[in-house]
Structure formats: C-alpha cells, structure tokens
Symmetry: C2
Subunit: 151 residues, 2 copies
C-alpha cells in the first residue's frame, strides 16, 4: 500500500501502550506540540491585535475568522504540559508549571474562557467590543507568561 | 495598561503596511507558522492512525475529536507558503512549491478535502470507514511530501 510507510511513521507518534494521559511518544514531541499550538494561536491573535490597535484597517470578517481560530487553538496546548515534559527541546516552561498545577490550570482556563469571549465579541462586528476583549485576553496571556514562562 | 507591552509585541507580528497577502512580518514567521500548523495537524492525525492501525483501542469519541482538529488545522498551513518564504528557518520546502504552484495548490486542496471526509467518517463511529479514510488522507500527505518536501 502506497501510504504504508507514512502511516507507520504517523503511528510511531503514539507509543504502543500509552495511557490516555500520555499521548506523546517523547517529551520533545509534547513540547513541540504545545509550542506549535501556541505559535498558531499567537499568530492569529496578533492579527486581531493589529486591528484592535489600528495598525491595519478593521475588517469584521477577518477579525471573526481569526478569533474563531484563536478560540479553537486555545484548548490545545495544555495536553502538551504533562508530567515528564518539564525539560527538553527549547522549552521556556518554568518548573512552577508542575509544582503549582492548580494555579497553572486556573490561568490556562481563564485564557480559554477569554478567547471564547473574544470570539463572541468579534462576531458582533463592533470594533470597541473587539478592542476590549482583545485587551482582556492579552492580559490572561501575560499573566500566565509572567508566572510560568522564562524570558 | 497592564497588557500594553504584550499587545505591542503581538502587534509587531504584523508589519504596518502589510497587504492582505503578506500576513507575516518575516519569512521566518511564515515558516514557523506553517510548520506549527502541520505539527499540530500531524499529532492529531497520528492519534487517528494509531486507532486505524489497531495500536490503541478504537474510541469513536476520541477519533471524532481528533478528526475535527485535523480538518480545522488542514486549512491553515498554506497561507504560510507565500512568495518570499522559499528559504529561512529550518524549512524543508522544495523550490518546486513556488515553481509549480498549480500542482502544489491541487495537492493541498486534495488533502483538505480528504480531511473533511475523514472528519465525516470519524463521526459515523464506524472503524472501517475511519480506516479507509485515514489511508486516503495519508496518501494525500505522502504525495505532497514526496513532491514538495526535502527529506
């Protein structure tokens, strides 16, 4: 079968007897995954920011499309912060993520909640609503980065 | 304002007078973005593959959730392959992407279409349908990688 080698490679991403909580074959895979999800989210969030800050013209459709992606992506990175992924790759994660799990969870959930509000605000087509929600979402990013990410 | 520095940094992602077709400040940003989108997609696609290939137990809900993410992510990477992003970062992109644009577009659209079918197949909860669609989707990945990605 043509795709056999490809499928085999894809399957290798998941170890044979992985429990549901360990969905990555190697810590590096989890680190790359969470960084990738945050990169995609940050890119689309930045596009909303450019409109919120008047750097590019406001386009309600573009804002809504980007906010949709931001809200979807916001749910993903957290699965990549499992136990055993404290170090590896070029992670900037602080050890506090794993020693202050309740706080990390609270911050990440706050961010996810704000991206849902951002998505709703973008759908209204109202620039002032978008600006306010962009700022509130950005605050949740910054709060978490300050506590849990090395410079 | 607390988030000012963060917002400023986010806005810096987009250059001041960027046309709609040039949504990245630097070629490296576009390369990192497209690689990130493909990493997230590949991770979730791999989880479906693990079930399609019997490496982990089939769970219809998990398969559907992953297929949903795959189908959403499949639309994203292509914006990162604009003119001027031929080299930079650690890209494995072949120059043929930019000299054979029609073929690249055809292959990418085929992949996107197959991920939508995969999403539909996953929603049926039928493992055989999932297997067939996983294989068809994997074929589109491989075809494009063979033509347009360096080893």
């Amino acid at each position: 079968m043509k795709a056999f080698a490809f499928i085999a490679a894809a399957v290798a991403l998941v170890s044979l007897s992985a429990p549901a909580t360990a969905q990555f074959a190697k810590p590096e895979d989890a680190i790359k995954y969470r960084q990738s999800a945050l990169t995609v989210m940050g890119t689309h969030f930045g596009r909303i920011g450019a409109m919120a800050n008047g750097k590019v013209p406001f386009d309600a459709k573009v804002a809504a499309d980007n906010a949709d992606i931001v809200a979807s992506m916001a749910k993903l990175p957290w699965a990549g912060f499992g136990k055993g992924t404290e170090t590896g790759g070029n992670t900037k994660a602080k050890p506090e993520i794993w020693t202050e799990q309740a706080k990390f969870k609270e911050y990440s959930e706050k961010m996810v909640a704000e991206t849902l509000k951002l998505d709703a605000a973008a759908k209204t087509g109202n620039l002032d609503a978008l600006k306010a929600s962009f700022s509130a979402t950005a605050d949740t990013c910054k709060t978490c980065h300050d506590a849990f990410r090395n410079k």
